[in-house]
Structure formats: C-alpha cells, structure tokens
C-alpha cells in the first residue's frame, strides 16, 4: 500500500495542508493529558510524526528535561527555571559582561559559560572559538523558533548538552555514515564527490555540529530538531544525503572542493521542506519506524 503513488500523493498533500495531522494531533493531546507524562511515548511520537507547532515547545521542554514528567510540578519548576536564568543574567550584568544592548544570543552564551564554569575572566575575553560559534548558531536558530527568552535559553542549553552527551561519540562517524548511505542512493554522485576531493571538505561542522542551524530555514529546521531532540542523530545524515541528491546536477558540474563547500554552506532556501520530508522518509526506510506504543 505504501507503494501506491495515488496514496502517497494524497498523504503528502494532506500533510502539507494539515488534514492528516488532525489524527496525530489528537493522539498527541491524549499523551499530553497523562500525568505523569510518558516521556518514552512522547519520544516515539516525535520520532514518527511531525510535532504540531502549537505543542512543539512544550514537548521539547519535556523531552529535554526542562519540565519534569509530573504536570502538577510544572508551575513550580518553571518558576525555578525563570529565577535561575534571571539570577545568572543579573550577575553577568553586574559584572559588566553584558548590558542592555547585548544581543540575546551572546547573553545566552555567557549564561551558559558561567553555569558550566567556562566563563573567561573579563580581562581575558577572547573572540568566540569554534565551539562558541556552534553554540551561537544554534542559539540564533532557536531564537527564531522560540519567543520567550527564558524558554529559549533553556532549550538551547539542554539541546546543546543533550546533543553532546548523547551523540558526542557518534558525531565523528557521521561523515562515514553519509558516505555509506550516499553509495546506496547515488553511487555516481558519491564517486564524483570522491574524485573531485569534495567529499572530505563538505560542510560537516554546519551539518553535524550545528545540526543545520544557519543552513536550513527554521520552519524546516524544527522538523529535523524534533527527531534530534527525541533521540536520533542519524536523521542528520539523511538530511545531508537529501541535500546532496537535490543539488546533484549542480554538484556534478563542480570540480572545485571549495566551490562545493561554499555552495552547500549557503544553500538556496527553497524546497527545504521537501528536502526534509524526503530525508525523514529515507531515514525511516533505512532505520525503520519506531513502532511501539502511541
């Protein structure tokens, strides 16, 4: 049935205009009524379906542990989270690390550094290093997705920390994994990237350290982050594969690795929703769809 093109067309269409989402939204609402929330089931839901935008931030906060599973603790814990952020940002203001016109993303970085004991002395302030830049890129994207600054800080912090702790060991292997799946999907493209030397200088940092922050527009990015936050870093590989496949014709015509790098680092912002949809399908095809519960 999955091969029925008519059906595929229809479901793609419904997904686009939001009808298919009605059933999913209902089942998510049922899950969200649980007290305590079943974090496992919420992860599975989020792996399988796109999160309805009205619930996205709430589900992310639960999955990242910013809110505990018990709903009747949410008010208290939210108050703690607000106070913690205000305490630290207030101290940073007193220490003159930040002031009224400091961009929020820089404030978030300083709060994060202070909390993780990495705040440099004020007399030794240096320009952001590679890791700071990764943080800032994720922060800028999160800022586009989340309105409330306190929520935004906590989501960045927990996203970055979870990503490091959970996937830190896997990240270095993702380029190899990309090569593997690209060989399955388009051996000719892979061969071209290899012979031109571009394969070794693809924008891996942008893709696998910043999780496409600054690469995909936020509306597409958040659908990728749904999967990352609910427990998959493999999805990043499939997004990369689909980006390469989408621009195959252009890439086949390029032989300069720097040209390839620059093009992919400043990728056109059209059709990114389709790229992400195809990447999610491909990810389900190779890695299976989580079936239990929901």
């Amino acid at each position: 049935m999955a091969d029925d093109p008519q059906r595929n067309f229809r479901s793609a269409y419904y997904e686009k205009v939001g009808f298919r989402g009605v059933e999913e939204k209902k089942s998510l609402e049922i899950l969200l009524k649980d007290n305590p929330l079943d974090v496992e089931k919420l992860s599975t839901f989020s792996q399988r379906f796109p999160l309805p935008s009205m619930y996205r931030i709430h589900v992310w906060k639960v999955l990242l542990g910013i809110l505990p599973p018990h709903s009747d603790s949410h008010a208290l814990v939210s108050r703690y989270r607000v106070e913690q952020f205000e305490d630290v940002s207030g101290a940073l203001t007193a220490m003159r690390f930040v002031h009224a016109s400091t961009p929020p993303t820089e404030l978030y970085l300083r709060v994060y550094q202070l909390e993780s004991r990495q705040l440099p002395r004020r007399s030794e302030l240096r320009p952001p290093d590679a890791e700071d830049e990764n943080f800032l890129a994720i922060a800028r994207a999160m800022e586009e997705i989340v309105d409330d600054p306190v929520d935004c800080y906590w989501l960045i912090r927990c996203f970055v920390n979870q990503f490091k702790h959970k996937f830190g060991d896997s990240i270095p292997h993702l380029p190899k994994s990309l090569e593997h799946f690209l060989s399955q999907e388009d051996a000719a493209l892979l061969a071209h990237l290899k012979t031109s030397g571009a394969l070794n200088s693809l924008p891996y940092c942008l893709w696998f350290r910043r999780c496409f922050a600054g690469c995909l527009p936020e509306s597409s990015l958040q659908r990728v982050w749904d999967k990352v936050i609910s427990g998959s870093c493999k999805i990043l590989v499939f997004v990369a594969v689909e980006i390469l496949l989408s621009y195959k014709i252009m890439l086949m015509g390029m032989s300069d690795p720097d040209g390839v790098y620059n093009f992919l680092s400043n990728m056109p912002q059209e059709n990114t929703d389709a790229i992400v949809s195809k990447a999610i399908d491909l990810w389900h095809k190779y890695c299976g769809t989580p079936m239990h519960s929901v």
Binding site: Y80, D87, R122
Partner: protein, 52 residues
C-alpha cells in the same frame, strides 16, 4: 503510587538544586571578578602614591 510521589519530589528537588548550583557558580564568578578589581585598585593606588 508511592514511586510516583517519590519521582515527582525528585523532579522538583532537581530543579531546585540546579537553581542553587547556579547561585554558587555566580558567587564564584563574582569573587574572581572582585579579586581582580581589588588588585587593579591596589596597583593604581600605589602608582598614584608613587607619582604624588
């Protein structure tokens, strides 16, 4: 049910502790900054005395 109560309490306590730990880190950062400022002040004062 008992486990449930315990889990809930644990969630709240963890958030509260994280808020407390942040205050401790703030204290450390403030102390470092103060120390630096005091030594700067001393240098300035001694050089002011020397030049006077």
């Amino acid at each position: 049910f008992l486990e449930d109560v315990k889990a809930q309490a644990k969630g709240e306590l963890q958030a509260s502790e994280s808020r407390y730990q942040a205050q401790r880190r703030v204290t450390l950062a403030l102390q470092t900054e103060l120390l630096q400022l005091y030594s700067r002040l001393e240098t300035e004062e001694s050089s002011a005395t020397a030049s006077a």
